[in-house]
């Protein structure tokens, strides 16, 4: 009993700093943001006026919130899908033995290590309508007759942004999938071969089931990170053209720092937070992490 009480104290003492840190860095700002959503508060006046649910009513009546939400879904699904495909293909290629393997593996990690601003500038240059390499090649090979305005075109901007995010963050998926691939028991492949399974069949029956947990984890983590992604999109399109790439974080930013309405921005952020919370709860209900880890083994 005494030991148990002392153990509790020990647990409290060792976890308290981390909890305090979390409280100050994460929970207090979240609580402040949620409380702010019930006030009218502009950027140029420190006073706050209680407005109840009026901020929520305003943004829910605005089609802009729903449009931004839908664009967030498109961006998240597109970027995560691309990252999974890119990660899977590159991990399968890197899971083979060849000369210079370590160097090639290092190169594949590089995009993930680059700051977003560097990636944004590179893509702006590559895809520029006026001086971009991609347009130059497309024009020279006769694929197009006029340069394409990738980041500025209504029909192309979202795909260009998705492509950029897919390239940059695909390496994360590569790393995780490669690590999992290397832990699959080779005897499983031998057994599949003995049963007459070819490469594709072995991939379907051995590789994919073993990757299931990893793919789900990547989809969840990258899904959350992409849904919240601000910098990559902001740096290349500022949410344009005509809000074609304005996702929920950019919408909230616009409300706060262009319309200077912190109350509305806080309401938009709270909505975003709730969406992610619901997504996370559904995930944990559908895919119990403990079981998934068991299955993954």
């Amino acid at each position: 009993m005494r030991g148990s009480a002392e153990q509790r104290k020990w647990v409290l003492a060792t976890t308290a700093p981390a909890l305090l840190f979390l409280l100050v860095i994460a929970y207090l700002p979240i609580a402040y943001a949620v409380s702010l959503s019930f006030f009218k508060k502009t950027a140029f006046n420190p006073t706050m006026k209680w407005v109840g649910l009026a901020n929520y009513q305003f943004i829910f009546e605005e089609p802009e919130l729903w449009n931004a939400f839908w664009r967030s879904v498109v961006f998240t699904l597109g970027a995560v899908g691309l990252q999974l495909v890119w990660g899977l293909v590159s991990a399968l290629l890197l899971n083979r033995a060849f000369k210079g393997l370590n160097q090639v593996r290092s190169l594949f990690v590089l995009p993930y290590l680059l700051p977003s601003i560097v990636v944004a500038l590179v893509f702006q240059w590559l895809l520029s309508q006026e001086y971009g390499v991609v347009n130059q090649v497309l024009m020279q090979t006769g694929v197009v007759t006029r340069p394409i305005n990738f980041f500025g075109g209504l029909g192309t901007a979202m795909w260009a942004v998705i492509g950029m995010a897919g390239w940059q963050y695909g390496s994360f998926a590569t790393l995780l999938i490669l690590a999992r691939l290397q832990s699959i028991n080779p005897k499983l492949y031998e057994a599949a071969a003995v049963s007459g399974a070819g490469t594709l069949r072995a991939f379907r029956d051995v590789t994919l089931p073993n990757l299931r947990t990893t793919l789900i984890v990547i989809a969840l983590l990258r899904g959350i990170w992409m849904f919240n992604k601000f910098d990559s999109i902001w740096l290349v399109t500022h949410g344009g053209p005509l809000k074609a790439t304005e996702t929920l974080p950019l919408y909230a930013y616009r409300l706060a720092f262009e319309e200077f309405d912190f109350g509305l921005a806080a309401a938009a952020c709270t909505v975003m937070f709730l969406v992610l919370l619901v997504g996370a709860v559904i995930y944990f209900k559908l895919f119990d992490p403990t079981k998934e880890i068991e299955v993954g083994r």
């Binding site: 140029f44 006026e130 305005n149 209504l154 344009g240 053209p241 005509l242 319309e259």
Partner: protein, 439 residues
């Protein structure tokens, strides 16, 4: 060693107090400290910074007041000021556009500076910003939105500087040779560059977003009414025709307005002030001499979108110290070097200074007296947006201007292909909705 619950709670409380205390102390100290002035300036050109440093040192010698500078830059200054206000430590002085400062005025954050204006010789009527019966701005400089064109290219096609809307369209068509050269630049995006173009062209066609209701003594949206709507539609359709001779350019910002021009991709462009010339001289001097200003052509009026920059002093700060500093700055002999930091771009608020030998004693100005004469010619035609719709300061302009609604209108017309009358209706509806929320 174990930490008891009580010890832990005590420790946490002390930590929290330690975290909060500096904030409280800063807030208390700032209001009381008459020996310090925090000055946030939009102008961050190295030459301008050198002048600030010199004047600030002289000011400290004379008064003992220390001036601390912050240069958040054009894009971030409003956010920086908002942060300082929100944390209870408003800066004493903000130097930026009076249009942006109006947001502070209507939130009752700006001090009455009528006494400073009087002490420094006053200012032109069209540069004053009066709110609740008091001056809220000490104008130092101004910029007009006007065009720049390649005289060599125009001459080669025997074209003169455009004087009318038809001239401008004709010249743009004649010089358009995409993708090597475009006749003009009509940025069509939700950016400040697009917004100022349409707002200026609206002025040229006498389009007003608001009208003054004398009975109610307040402004009401008029953009979608009668002649206003007719002229707004006409302006959008005209810019749509021009846009056919422009890069599609739906991500255009201020930088691109200049770079597209000085990389010889466009025969004409426009800017707020002469920074475009400054950048052309720096990046492509061979076309600098052929870079000539022109009035964005009139349809109904000669009015110019006028940006006014000046000092703004915040209430709840060291107001007396700030007033002393601004008076000292404006009267300081080195202030002329500050105007020369970007010659012909930072235009003095005083016409007398523009005409003075001291101001004109600069190699760039001497070389480009044509630009100075042009500025002198359009001097009285500038109108700040908040006085465009009437004699009373219009507090609602932020509802469309801050959000680049005019840029949105251009983009909807030129990029999305929406009909102009539907765009005008939608824009007016958006402003009305926001007015309702503000009220």
């Amino acid at each position: 060693m174990f930490i008891g619950r009580r010890t832990f709670v005590k420790g946490a409380a002390v930590s929290a107090a330690a975290a909060v205390a500096p904030q409280v102390l800063v807030r208390t100290a700032r209001g009381a400290d008459k020996s310090k002035v925090l000055f946030v300036s939009e102008e961050s050109n190295p030459k301008a910074i050198a002048v600030y440093d010199k004047i600030n040192a002289d000011f400290k010698k004379e008064t003992g007041i220390e001036v601390t500078m912050e240069y958040p830059g054009f894009a971030n200054i409003a956010k920086r000021v908002a942060t300082l206000i929100a944390t209870g430590t408003p800066p004493e002085i903000v130097w930026y556009g009076a249009g942006q400062a109006m947001n502070l005025a209507i939130e009752n954050q700006l001090a009455d500076v009528g006494d400073v204006l009087k002490a420094t010789g006053g200012t032109a009527e069209n540069l004053r910003m009066i709110y609740k019966g008091a001056d809220r701005s000490i104008p130092t400089s101004q910029q007009f939105t006007y065009g720049w064109y390649r005289k060599d290219l125009y001459d080669a096609k025997k074209l003169a500087a455009p004087k009318s809307w038809d001239d401008y369209l004709k010249a743009a068509k004649a010089l358009n040779d995409p993708p090597n050269m475009y006749g003009c630049i009509i940025p069509s995006a939700e950016t400040g560059a697009s917004t100022l173009l349409l707002e200026t062209m609206f002025m040229k066609n006498d389009v007003h977003w608001f009208e003054w209701n004398a009975g109610k003594k307040e402004y009401e949206v008029s953009l979608d009414k009668g002649n206003q709507k007719k002229r707004a539609v006409e302006t959008l359709d005209y810019l749509n025709e021009l846009h056919k001779n422009s890069p599609e350019a739906s991500t255009y910002n201020w930088g691109e307005l200049m770079s597209t021009y000085f990389t010889e991709k466009a025969a004409s462009s426009y800017y707020v002030g002469s920074r475009l010339l400054d950048q052309t001289i720096a990046n492509n001097p061979k076309i600098a001499d052929a870079t000539v200003p022109f009035e964005l052509p009139k349809k109904v009026t000669d009015a110019y979108y006028l940006s006014i920059q000046g000092f703004h002093i915040l209430e709840k700060s060291n107001v007396e110290g700030a007033k002393k500093y601004v008076t000292f700055f404006v009267k300081h002999p080195d202030v002329i070097s500050w105007y020369h930091a970007v010659p012909l771009h930072i235009i003095p608020a005083s016409r007398e200074m523009l005409h003075s030998g001291k101001y004109q004693d600069n190699p760039v100005i001497q070389k480009r007296m044509d630009v100075l004469k042009f500025l002198d010619y359009i001097w009285t035609k500038g109108v700040p947006l908040y006085y465009w719709d009437g004699k009373e300061l219009n507090p609602y302009i932020g509802l469309y201007h801050n959000e680049n609604l005019a840029g949105w209108m251009l983009a909807m017309r030129n990029i999305k292909g929406m009909k102009s009358d539907a765009i005008v209706d939608e824009a007016a509806a958006q402003v009305r909705k926001k007015m309702k929320r503000v009220s």
